[in-house]
């Protein structure tokens, strides 16, 4: 068995003295693992880092085997991301979300989005909104997509500011007013076609929304908890946004 594809490295694990087990998100074959012989060598270690895009050749005698990868670097993002707390925690969060998907199950949309997010992960002004959208997309790919296009009660596409925690469908301001305390706020950047970005409050609301549905549909049924990196990412992001925001005018 043999194939060639490109992928984004999610993690590496030491294997023996010289090799590593590489976990990658590939374009056409989803999340895939394989062994890289000599992966701990001085030549290969720098590019076998999470966040880097690599060209992969996978080979195994049988399809169900772990197999071996031969990897060549295409795009080295890790060095750029290392300095940013938001970026490294974000990278671990994205990898944790992709681990919710079954292995070797292609998700081209997630792969393309992952590449786009990694390019902007060290930019705190957009990283939060991108990762929050990614979480909604992961829910969608797992079969628990939210309907944020129109109001569940009236069908209107305007003034959608809530999401029903029961149905995962958007609710307009007018229809949701009587149950406002029971509904989840919908930040504007999560709506289809909306501009990416938001302040700390909107980002926190987006993560509360996606976190609620991830917990309900994924974490709780599987008996797992949200990854630690998700909380660290949000904390680092809010800290970065606070430090970037201009000081309030005196008086």
């Amino acid at each position: 068995m043999e194939w060639r594809d490109e992928g984004i490295i999610l993690a590496t694990r030491k294997h023996g003295e010289t090799s590593v087990i590489l976990e990658v998100m590939t374009r056409g074959r989803g999340r895939h693992l394989g062994m890289v012989r000599g992966g701990r060598s001085r030549k290969m270690r720098p590019f076998l880092q999470p966040g880097n895009r690599v060209d992969l050749s996978w080979r195994a005698r049988l399809d169900e085997q772990l197999g071996t990868f031969q990897a060549e670097p295409i795009e080295q993002n890790a060095a750029r991301l290392l300095e940013s707390a938001t970026a490294v925690h974000g990278l671990q969060t994205l990898a944790a979300h992709l681990r919710l998907l079954p292995e070797r199950d292609p998700h081209i949309r997630l792969y393309e989005t992952l590449g786009l997010i990694i390019a902007h992960l060290d930019d705190a002004t957009v990283a939060g909104a991108l990762v929050a959208r990614f979480e909604i997309m992961v829910l969608d790919e797992l079969g628990f997509g939210l309907d944020l296009l129109q109001c569940a009660a009236t069908g209107t596409r305007d003034n959608l500011i809530y999401v029903s925690p029961k149905t995962g469908r958007a609710v307009s301001a007018e229809a949701g007013a009587p149950w406002a305390d029971k509904l989840l706020p919908l930040p504007s950047f999560l709506k289809s076609g909306a501009e990416i970005g938001g302040d700390g409050e909107a980002i926190s609301a987006a993560f509360r929304l996606s976190g609620y549905f991830l917990a309900r549909h994924v974490y709780e049924p599987r008996g797992i908890s949200a990854p630690q990196s998700r909380a660290s990412f949000l904390a680092a992001l809010l800290k970065a946004l606070t430090s970037q925001s201009p000081a309030a005018p005196a008086g």
Partner: protein, 201 residues
């Protein structure tokens, strides 16, 4: 089925030696044969040394280093600067920095890095011990000397967050061109890191 050519004791010695890093079954056989040939000069003293190590080696309750005394010799050395702690992933990193002899500081061994794939979380590392040491007072700087990998830096940022409210300076090792390194032969990632952390000359 292959015929057994040595007794079970020697076979067991070979099997155990083959588990040592750097040794495979072939080199383990050579090492075992060498030890047996030098029974008096090598095998005997090695057995005694290993027995002593087994009996006396312990983890330092203060810094996580390996030594035969607790606290370890580094922690109990009065000539060391107690105001600076160098944070490392593993004892091998501590030994490497001590070989370099660049700083006469104290150390703190984390025992690994945050690794979701291996199931290593903050509670599995010696982070609480570091926070307690800094909270005791007298520490002015923590130098984070973890590997320049995504997992290493994730751990570094996590530790920085844990120490954020304490009155301590947090620094990290520079990333960039190694001594004797030629730019032409360096990977793009290292060059990017070197350019981003350039200093005034």
């Amino acid at each position: 089925m292959s015929k057994r050519i040595v007794g079970p004791e020697i076979e067991k010695l070979i099997q155990l030696l083959a588990k040592v890093p750097g040794l495979g079954p072939r080199s383990a056989r050579r090492a075992a044969l060498h030890l047996i040939k030098k029974k008096e000069q090598l095998l005997g003293p090695l057995t005694v040394a290993m027995g002593d190590a087994l009996e006396r080696v312990r983890i330092c309750s203060r810094c996580g280093n390996i030594d035969t005394v607790d606290p370890c010799m580094i922690c109990s050395d009065p000539r060391r600067d107690t105001g600076t702690i160098i944070l490392v992933e593993d004892v091998s990193d501590l030994w490497a920095l001590e070989r370099a002899g660049a700083m006469n500081a104290q150390f703190h061994v984390l025992g690994g890095t945050l690794s979701p794939l291996d199931g290593v979380g903050p509670d599995d590392l010696n982070i609480r011990g570091l926070v307690s040491r800094v909270a005791e007072g007298g520490v002015s700087e923590v130098i984070i000397a973890v590997n320049a990998t995504v997992e290493g830096q994730t751990t570094a940022h996590y530790v920085t967050d844990q120490l954020a409210d304490m009155n301590v300076k947090i620094t990290r090792l520079a990333h960039g061109v190694p001594v004797g390194g030629e730019l032409d032969y360096l990977d793009e990632g290292t060059l990017t890191a070197a350019l981003r952390s350039r200093t005034a000359f």
